[in-house]
Symmetry: C2
Subunit: 522 residues, 2 copies
């Protein structure tokens, strides 16, 4: 694969100067166009040691307008990063629409290093690479351009360059292997690199292999390649969208009369008032204990509440929060996104607020808005909400891998009960703020919402993050069902060993200590 | 001071119920008004152990609309927080305009605890309290309402409550002192609390002392007090502004012809081309070394570049960045604020981007926009930009206290040279993006800008963060002056012992290990 990067291409000083100014002008021009077309660009800079990745990034910073260009390196994992799913740090680096981010290694860094150091095998590496492919597809489908550069050197050239670097202590290359080992190491690294590139070189986010022996050739080629890639992306106004897939779950929108999951709920279930009071007290005491245990065990709890308007989300949430120490939870009511949030993928604002390990976070509405209100109201295109199911499943999987306990509740009420509650809200002074014209409008779209909910539950109720459907007509019954479900799940999860509870036993590219723990547990 | 909190006030269950619904309705109403009037509200919840601070916060969460209400506790200092000035975590918690934030202890927590544990004396506590007063004044002048609750218990009541708590392991109260010591501890805590409250109880941000023995009385009183405070703040549409002070530096805006600091610069200074080349090479090599040393010593470098349009900021910055490993620096071009940034104090967006320890951060324009463009263009009122000087000085002091090395450059060019550069930019393709109509307009306001610059330099050139004025007509001369200044300052600062370089030897409320180090260094 790397033969073409070892032919000794070079550019003379004069040629370089000649081409540079023209290239700069053009790069600045496409950068301006990016801003106008709101396309975010992710540039990955990777390759063998001593290929001059830092110099390339400096060059890009010199040639491009620094307004709208950010560089990210991934040294020194902070504990804030360690306590969150490992892609959190990459989400933090994603550029807003119209800007560029240059990432040193990005999500390739850890998997390559782990495989190279023998901490995982090819199969584990492959599993991680398929996650990367999904992630990059998600970015490009959302409109981003992903440009990946791999800088390569022949064995001889790398050896020479490393020797030069090792003269001072600047390099992060920890140790130059002994002479006899160098060739072996070089070949192993090339093996890993080839595997990584082969599996992640997709049309949506191709790799560009660049010979790095001559700095001038290297930098000019990077500039020209980037220029071309941006131009091509701008010329093609929409990212490739797969046509909406046929619906394997057979849940047509147009059949509101069909019997569905939601119809099977027995909304007449009730709980007697005295029993409610005693159960509430018991469960709240248990939740209080369990949240302290979760805090000590550094397990995050994520609760997602979705439901019909006046379905009783707020009441159920208050029964939880009044039982939990205010320092241990955060309730996040999901409202309209800010403009910084709008400038990113719709999941960005949820990644942004992932708590540190050990806390409880309660979402009053959530990322499911994408497949509910955004679908029904047409704020998201069909292609967008359709692919959201797998994006959401992947997001939740990453939360669970990190050790989070994730519960999702849908609160359903009958048409009559909803109407009664709307009228009650209009009459009770401190409830009036909860009822708006929009609620009345939403009622008219009940069949479409119902279809959306059914499909959502069917497609995103996973083993690691199941939906709990709550019969909401009787508030006491609903609240006790919510609280007892939480207690049950927390009790079971906290009794488990943390490691076995993480579904993926071994992921290449994991946070360092997790990988180490897993190894010793083998 | 606390006598009034020990009289045994209580509220019956019936009274509570009677008043609660009305109070809730009114709280929701003022919360709505807050949103409309864009007033941010900071609520501090502090007091003796076991007074039920967590319960109060739960109550507020129950009564208020959770949209626009966030709660923050300050456990578990993360290393991301530890590596930044200690107020960074408080800036992170400040609510956007129109919303509320409830802070457990907030900036009072650490000073009280340190003084109580004997880690600092009264004088050190007082010094910290005066910083707090400044900080709260800054928030209120920016339009915020700061409401501070102190919950108190008599010795007997506290003892009883602590015993109840100590039965389970939920409390953060590490150990209940022995019987004989309890009274002593209680009195010491009361001594510290009284001192803190007395010194920070200003009209702009008053303390409300609340008897916490009876939960119902406590919660109702909090609700009513908060309601009143918000109503009063809404009724008074603007925060109290001190009248613009007379100008002790005697730098009247209206005297552009006056001889100033800037006029004294000898703009004819030049550097010969060969000398420039050799010096540049030498200094760039040194900067490269120094940034690695700074990284190892975990010292942050903050470079601020301000200057006239076409003053040569970009060129100077590029001479630095091309010498530094791209993983070690971040260049931040300061553009228009986002809407999230606009919803906060103007310094918020700069706090937001403070780097972790050990990195270099380069600001291409900065917080000084407040006293330059915002002053001249009238975007900030006179009261606003006048108080910005001390706000900025305090901000920079906090950076330096944390160990940052802070350098500020003003690049000055003559009128003729600026004109020549404007014309050049219009002619050179890759420079055209740098010249706009605004630049031409700014030129017409040169006298006002000059006055603003003179005052800025006079008022914010501090011992710990001096301004360097750079004669910019000859680019080689200017660049070498910038680079050699940086090398000199970095060399000197990195040779120092880190501890002595932090100007404030002892600050009550410091990050834990800093305080400990200081102690042992005493």
């Amino acid at each position: 694969m790397f033969e073409a990067t070892k032919v000794g291409r070079s550019v003379s000083k004069e040629e370089f100067k000649e081409q540079r100014d023209e290239l700069r002008t053009q790069l600045l021009e496409v950068q301006r166009q990016l801003r106008e077309t709101h396309i975010p660009v992710v540039v990955i800079v990777a390759g063998v040691e001593a290929a001059g990745k830092g110099e390339v990034v400096n060059r890009l910073n010199e040639w491009l307008d620094s307004r709208g260009l950010q560089t990210f390196a991934y040294w020194d994992l902070s504990d804030e990063e360690r306590e969150r799913p490992r892609y959190w740090r990459f989400w933090r680096s994603l550029p807003p629409r119209g800007e560029l981010a240059v990432l040193f290694g990005g999500w390739y860094l850890a998997p390559i290093e782990h495989r190279f150091r023998g901490l995982c095998d090819d199969a584990a590496l492959d599993a991680e690479l398929s996650r990367i492919v999904d992630f990059e597809r998600m970015l490009t489908q959302d409109g981003a351009l992903v440009v990946k550069f791999w800088f390569h050197l022949s064995e001889k050239d790398q050896k020479r360059r490393l020797k030069e670097l090792s003269r001072d202590d600047r390099s992060r290359w920890k140790m130059l292997p002994e002479k006899s080992k160098f060739s072996e190491q070089y070949q192993l690294f090339e093996h890993v690199a080839e595997r990584v590139i082969r599996q992640t070189d997709r049309g949506i986010a191709p790799w560009y292999l660049i010979e790095a022996t001559d700095n001038r050739y290297r930098d000019l080629t990077v500039g020209k390649t980037l220029l071309q890639a941006i131009r091509a992306r701008i010329a093609q106004p929409l990212p490739m969208e797969p046509p909406p897939t046929a619906d394997p779950l057979d849940l047509p929108d147009s059949a509101p009369a069909q019997i569905t999951l939601l119809d099977q709920l027995d909304l007449t279930q009730k709980l007697e008032r005295d029993l409610y009071k005693s159960e509430l007290k018991r469960l709240q005491a248990e939740i209080n204990e369990l949240t302290w245990t979760a805090y000590k065990k550094q397990r995050t709890t994520v609760l997602v509440f979705e439901g019909m308007d006046a379905g009783g989300k707020g009441g159920a949430i208050r029964r939880i929060t009044s039982a939990v120490d205010a320092r241990l939870y955060r309730a996040i009511p999901v409202a309209a996104p800010t403009d910084e949030e709008k400038a990113h993928h719709y999941l960005w604002r949820f990644w942004r607020h992932i708590p540190r390990a050990g806390y409880m976070i309660i979402y009053d509405r959530s990322w499911y808005g994408r497949v509910l209100v955004e679908r029904v109201e047409g704020f998201a295109s069909e292609a967008e909400w359709r692919r959201a199911y797998s994006e959401i499943n992947d997001f939740e999987e990453q939360l669970v891998e990190q050790g989070a306990i994730l519960l999702k509740f849908w609160l359903q009420v009958s048409d009559e009960e909803q109407l009664a509650r709307f009228h009650d809200r209009e009459k009770t002074p401190y409830k009036q703020y909860k009822i708006t014209d929009e609620d009345w409008r939403n009622r008219e779209k009940a069949p479409q919402y119902k279809a959306a909910v059914n499909e959502m539950v069917a497609r995103t109720s996973t083993e690691y993050a199941p939906w709990t459907l709550v019969e909401g007509d009787d508030k006491p019954f609903a609240r006790i069902k919510v609280l007892s479900t939480i207690c049950e799940r927390l009790r079971a999860a906290l009794a488990e060993d943390v490691l076995t509870s993480m579904r993926t036993v071994k992921r290449c590219g994991d946070h360092p200590e997790r990988l180490a723990e897993t190894e010793s547990g083998d």
